[in-house]
Amino acid sequence: MDTPLARQEKVGKMLEIKNLHVKLEEEDKAILKGVNLSIQAGEVHAIMGPNGSGKSTTSYVLAGREGYVVTEGSATLDGVDLLDLDPEERAAAGLFLAFQYPVEIPGVGNMTFLRTAVNAQRKARGEEELSAADFLKLVREKAKALQIDADMLKRPVNVGFSGGEKKRNEILQMAMLEPKMCILDETDSGLDVDAMKLVAEGVNALRSEGRAFLVITHYQRLLDHIKPDVVHIMSAGRIVKSGGPELALEVETNGYAEFLEEA
């Protein structure tokens, strides 16, 4: 058995962001101004921060969304330069972003979507594609745990889904794709307490030694259910403070004001 330290040596840093500067493509406006973040395999990190601090931008830039220009710095996943890859290559490398606003895709069945995604990633990694029967078995099993019924699987992707259904559908995709690095962008927004618990259970079920999470949230309440190892406070495009879970409680009590002053 490896000691925790030895394991960490072996798996190394899962996500490593160094001095990341990002501006908008359309206008000369800097959004991220030197973000540094290092996440080890098996860890759960949370980023909190006020509106406009650059939390969602960080997630989009990591996932490869268009419209942003990286002017400085780097981001690697397991030593692989993420910024050099297309979004689908980042996904195949093991990155997953659970969207704050999951996209509705009329005309594409949820099942077709899931199967296309799973098999595309398997193919990219040189693995055999799942047979229709194996896929069906797998998706039913994972869907059941998230209380996603057959009807939701049949309907077009996210079309007519409630807020909670959309977020559960994100977690289902995560469970099916089994990524190494999961980023949850305000997964708690628009969820009632029960739905948040369900989503958190889905996430917790996926926690493992080889997998890391970055949870982006405004509020501490999600972190009651998904317990982070490290909490970061982001403000004006930088991480201004990092600490243990107690940092989230501090924010809950005192707000962000003191951190903004520190920045």
């Binding site: 979004p87 969207f99 594409v108 979507f113 595309a120």
Partner: protein, 429 residues
């Protein structure tokens, strides 16, 4: 002052190039009447309002523009897996040897060329009749030309529920073939037929199909216009619908340098349903025109038009669709949708949706849009690991889905979906 008008000369030149059938028999009167109609209106020219978006020149010229017939060995012929009575036309000429025996319980199937010699025929009440009705309020000279000069066609009389579809297989071989085909289909009360059509037919095709559906009859039509690149086609469907009858037509057009598909539907009995749909895929030198005219002249009828076009590399799509609701056609439910997905900035979609309503208790709606691939959806798919090309195809198929879903039979629908996917895949390279 003499007005120089190109119409009479061009029309006469085209007529001179027609080869009249030797023994027109009972069709003679209809052919003569059509000739008179055609001379009165003249063949279409660019200045005609109805041909504003589509150049008729190559469709009306005396000479055929040569078109290479391409062999497509990379996929099985479409609808090959569907058991059907197959009738094969090679460059517009019926090929009896390649066809099935025209025997189908409850259905009479004859060739126009053979049947027109007899003195009396049921099709006498249909041949050129619906075409003539369809000339008002808008002239359709190419259809009159067809009635006057058709070399052959199929006459189908359906008196029961047909056990299997009839499949008209059009084979294009000759570079200069110029086919004029005229089909008549009569569906008796309570009878039912599915008609399939596939293939590019000829270098130039002028086709008319007249469909009369009696009370409670059902007619389903699925057509795939083949993969030839250079061919040209002008087709017309004229349908007249009786009480509680159903007419459903779907057309897939992938390739073809010029296609004009006109569909003219008239509701004459109450509570009838007509759906016309099409999916067109155009790449490069491709011009596709759907022109639809639906007349509601009965109570509580439903018409639905769903046309989707995917265009790239400078391809052009046209939609002219009209719903005319006559005085007294209350409770009409009319829906018209025409949409184009432009995969690049070079392609264009020209649409002219029209509603003309004289009844006061109707529900009619229309929508026409053109746009690019939804970038947000594209990123979402890619972020899940679906490569750009496959993600674009998936969204393109999703765009087409609403039209394809108009096909009732699942096996036919699946086959069309597979063809769409294959077309996209080939272009992804």
């Amino acid at each position: 002052m003499a007005l120089v008008h190109p119409k009479p000369d061009a029309t006469e030149a085209r007529l001179a190039a027609l080869s009249a059938p030797e023994n027109p028999g009972w069709t003679a009167a209809a052919r003569d009447a059509a000739l008179t109609r055609l001379r009165a209106m003249g063949l279409p020219i660019r200045r005609d309002e109805y041909w504003k978006y589509t150049r008729p020149d190559s469709l009306t010229a005396a000479e055929v523009t040569p078109a290479t017939a391409l062999a497509h060995d990379d996929e099985a012929p479409i609808f090959a897996a569907t058991e059907a009575l197959r009738l094969v036309f090679v460059d517009g000429v019926f090929d009896a040897e390649a066809s099935d025996a025209p025997e189908l319980a409850g259905v009479s199937v004859e060739m126009l060329s053979a049947a027109q010699g007899s003195d009396l025929h049921w099709a006498r009440g249909l041949y050129g009749v619906l075409e003539a009705r369809g000339q008002s309020p808008v002239a359709r000279p190419l259809a009159a030309l067809n009635t006057a000069g058709a070399s052959d066609g199929v006459l189908i009389h359906v008196s029961a529920k047909a056990a299997k579809p009839i499949h008209l297989v059009y084979v294009h071989k000759s570079e200069r073939s110029d086919a004029i085909l005229h089909h008549c289909i009569k569906v008796d009360a309570g009878a039912e037929l599915t008609l399939l059509e596939s293939g590019p037919a000829a270098a130039r095709l002028n086709k008319v199909m007249e469909v009369e559906i009696a009370d409670g009859g059902r007619f389903q039509h699925v057509r795939a216009q083949g993969r030839d690149h250079d061919r040209r086609a002008a087709t017309h469907i004229f349908a007249r619908l009786g009480r509680e009858s159903t007419f459903k037509s779907f057309t897939l057009t992938a390739n073809g340098v010029l296609t004009r598909n006109e569909c003219v539907i008239e509701f004459t009995g109450d509570d009838a349903v007509a759906h016309v749909a099409g999916a067109a895929l155009g790449d490069g030198d491709f011009h596709h025109d759907d022109t639809v005219f639906i007349t509601h002249d009965a109570v509580n009828c439903e018409s639905r038009q769903v046309f989707k076009k995917v265009l790239r590399n400078g391809a052009t799509g046209v939609f002219q669709g009209k719903i005319l609701v006559k005085d007294g056609a209350q409770k009409t439910d009319g829906y018209q949708l025409s949409q184009a997905l432009l995969l690049d900035g070079d392609s264009q979609f020209l649409a002219k949706p029209e509603l003309e309503i004289y009844a006061d208790d109707v529900a009619c709606s229309h929508g026409s849009t053109s746009g690019a691939i939804d970038e947000t959806a594209l990123f979402y798919l890619r972020s899940r690991g679906v490569p750009l090309g496959a993600a674009t195809d998936l969204l393109t198929q999703a765009f087409l889905a609403e039209a394809v879903e108009e096909i009732e039979a699942p096996d036919l629908r699946d086959e069309i979906v597979a063809r769409l996917a294959a077309w996209l895949e080939r272009r992804r390279g």
